[in-house]
């Protein structure tokens, strides 16, 4: 009895409740979206102001005159860093992706004794604070004459990128049914044959995830860049130098920040889905 009575009386109230909760959900979402985008608004607006206009009292107002001087200055200051970063990030990403793919293939499809211990030990390498290896690393790089060179920094990023690239590919290949490989090995294909003919052709999504992840990480990295390659400043170091010197105007700093962020932002906006996958893979089980 009571149940039916309640059911009869609720529909109109439920409907208004539902409407209100929808309004609340959207209001909150829009509020947070505005909050998250506030710094972006500030960056873009400040960067188009002329130097005379960068004034604390008018900080939140739109520029009166539209000026691209700040962008021009920022580009001049940042250009060497941008090109250094591209020269670093492309080879480092490609090499670590290839090595990660091979490692992931071995660890997921070829059982060998000790693999269950070796893999977690490898993974530990991506969680350590790099300060704990920095002093011997610098010494080692000088002893092999790679200190302060681009190849040196590439080597560093390849090595310390191995755990995450191996992890992503291992989890990716774990989904590939073993029957597929067994069929191939009956046909007489060996380790490389199976990799080349069966595994590699279906690896594209894995490579996209890994390449995007490594690209973003290496582009944004600062600690290695500022210690191992001071003389070939990467974009993050160039930006910090520009921001650290007191004489550079805020409009230039904002334009430079935006310039430094453009490559990773483009990748994120175009391939966000794969970026999120790499992100979640970082929490080991994903």
């Amino acid at each position: 009895m009571t149940v039916t009575a309640a059911a009869q009386s609720t529909p109109p109230r439920r409907l208004t409740n539902r409407l209100w909760s929808r309004v609340l959900v959207y209001a909150l979402l829009i509020f947070f979206a505005v909050l998250f985008l506030l710094p972006v608004y500030m960056v873009i607006m400040t960067s188009f102001k002329g130097t005379a206009e960068v004034n604390i009292s008018t900080m939140w107002q739109l520029p009166q005159t539209f000026s691209i001087d700040a962008w021009r200055t920022a580009y001049e200051r940042l250009a060497p860093g941008l090109s250094n970063s591209f020269l670093l990030v492309i080879p480092a990403t490609v090499i670590s992706a290839i090595l990660g793919s091979l490692n992931g293939y071995v660890l997921s499809k070829w059982k060998f004794p000790g693999a269950n211990i070796i893999f977690p030990l490898m993974l530990f390498g991506m969680f350590i604070p790099y300060q704990a290896i920095l002093i011997p690393l610098v010494q080692f790089m000088s002893s092999i004459k790679l200190f302060n060179t681009l190849p040196g920094l590439i080597l560093v990023h390849v090595v310390y990128g191995l755990p995450i690239t191996t992890l992503i590919f291992r989890n990716y290949y774990a989904e590939v049914p073993n029957e597929l490989l067994e069929a191939g090995s009956i046909d007489g294909a060996g380790f490389f044959g199976l990799y080349w003919k069966i595994v590699l052709p279906i690896s594209l999504p894995g490579f996209v995830v890994v390449i995007i992840w490594q690209f973003t990480q290496i582009w944004n990295e600062f600690l290695f860049a500022v210690t191992v390659a001071q003389n070939t400043p990467m974009v993050t170091v160039a930006l910090q130098n520009l921001s650290g010197s007191q004489i550079v105007q805020w409009n230039v700093q904002m334009a430079a920040s935006f310039l430094a962020a453009i490559p990773t932002l483009i990748v994120y906006v175009l391939l966000g889905r794969y970026f999120i996958r790499g992100l979640l893979a970082g929490s080991v089980k994903g």
Binding site: S21, L29, A33, F36, M42, V43, I56, S57, W60, L99, N103, V106, L107, F112, N116, F119, P120, M122, L123, F124, G125, I128, P129, Q131, A132, I133, L134, I135, P136, F140, V159, F191, F192, T216, N220, E221, F222, L223, T227, T236, L239, Q240, S243, G244, Q253, M254, A261, T264, L265, V267, Y268, V269, G272, I276, L279, L280, G282, S283, V284, K285
Partner: protein, 364 residues
């Protein structure tokens, strides 16, 4: 065999670059190695745990102790903000929203940025005499007065010499809580062990043993520097999207049938979340705490850009290690700081890795 030989180079590289280098850092941390010593090619003197002693109780090493206290407060606040905001955004996005992917893109885009970019932008926004302090003036209100990352305010102050006692009291209250809980649940053996622990800890506190553990000659005040709030806001802006993505992936894993079943049982929409969805997200929360925790323990770029190494109010061990080593050329001291950082991260990460792989081994 071929398979193993293909992975061998990676194993050797990581063996040297991770474990070999950690061993060398550990060795260096027990010496008084400096630039002069290295240039003169003389072996550094072995000083045992002297560097560590200095860091925790040397009268001149206040900076490291500030860093540790900063790290603790920053980590707690940063994790709370990221979990709370991430969960809220994920639940909001889970309400079958129109333009969901647009909102998701907005909340997650800061993750694609460098901490250096975040630092530069927020330094401008936190400028005390402009920035977000002047945001209220847009709608005619007076500007806010908080000085953000250069604020000198400090709350929850304590004397570093009291730290052993404070830690013991905290441990004591946790142990007492558990003992009580065990007693209520009638798990008598656990309750007895808990009671013994409580007794031992109270003895240590009240007999003055913990108070006598302070090795620092003079009182030294530490506390929660409110300037850290600025760093938490910037870091939270960047990383909340990450927890949101983790929670969202978890929410998508909760099947609609399960929720429908709960609704049929009379659960309200909030009840469905409380009794069905949130319990299923508990493992994700744990992962998120560990990942965020280890990020905040090693944080470097953001505070480097915002503080530049001079602003001790927001200083962190990673920054201290960098300046000690590469500006001060005190390799022994720098290595000791690095080892403390490694230990802190290992305490969080090693159980996590062991647990992940133990459960994986069970499944397969």
């Amino acid at each position: 065999m071929i398979a193993f030989s293909m992975i061998l180079p990676s194993i050797i590289l990581l063996g040297i670059f991770v474990y070999g280098f950690i061993v060398i850092t550990a060795q260096t941390s027990m010496t008084d190695s400096t630039a002069t010593q290295r240039l003169s090619r003389l072996p550094a003197n072995f000083v045992g745990v002297q560097n560590y002693n200095d860091l925790f109780s040397g009268p001149l090493d206040t900076r490291f102790r500030i860093d540790i206290v900063n790290t603790v407060f920053f980590t707690g606040l940063f994790i709370t903000v990221c979990l709370g905001l991430g969960m809220l955004l994920a639940v909001l996005l889970d309400q079958k929203i129109r333009n969901e992917s647009l909102f998701r893109t907005i909340f997650l885009f800061p993750m694609a940025l460098s901490f250096v970019v975040t630092g530069v932008v927020w330094k401008w926004l936190f400028n005390p005499s402009s920035g977000i302090n002047y945001l209220p003036t847009v709608i005619g209100l007076p500007p806010a007065q908080f000085r953000w990352f250069i604020s000198e305010e400090r709350i929850l102050e304590f004397n570093w010499q009291d730290l052993p006692t404070i830690l013991a009291v905290i441990a004591l209250s946790i142990a007492a809580m558990f003992t009580l809980w065990f007693a209520v649940k009638r798990r008598s053996r656990a309750a007895i062990y808990g009671f013994m622990l409580v007794m031992i800890l109270s003895f240590l506190v009240f007999s003055g043993v913990t108070a006598s553990l302070n090795a620092l000659p003079n009182p030294e005040t530490h506390g929660f520097n409110l300037a850290l709030i600025a760093v938490v806001v910037a870091a939270g802006w960047q990383m909340s999207g990450y927890t949101m993505a983790m929670y969202l992936a978890g929410l998508r894993g909760v099947s609609e049938e399960l929720r429908e079943a709960a609704r049929v049982d009379g659960a309200s929409e909030i009840g469905v979340y409380r009794h069905v969805v949130f319990p299923l997200l508990a493992p994700i929360t744990l992962s998120a705490i560990i990942i965020l925790g280890h990020i905040s323990l090693k944080i470097f770029d953001l505070v480097y850009v915002m503080g530049g190494g001079d602003n001790l109010r927001i200083d962190m061990p990673g920054l201290n290690m960098f300046f000690e080593t590469f500006r001060g050329q005190n390799f022994g001291r720098g290595a000791a700081i690095a080892m403390v950082m490694l230990l802190l991260v290992a305490v969080v990460i090693v159980p996590y890795l062991v647990n992940s792989f133990r459960s994986e081994a069970k499944r397969s």
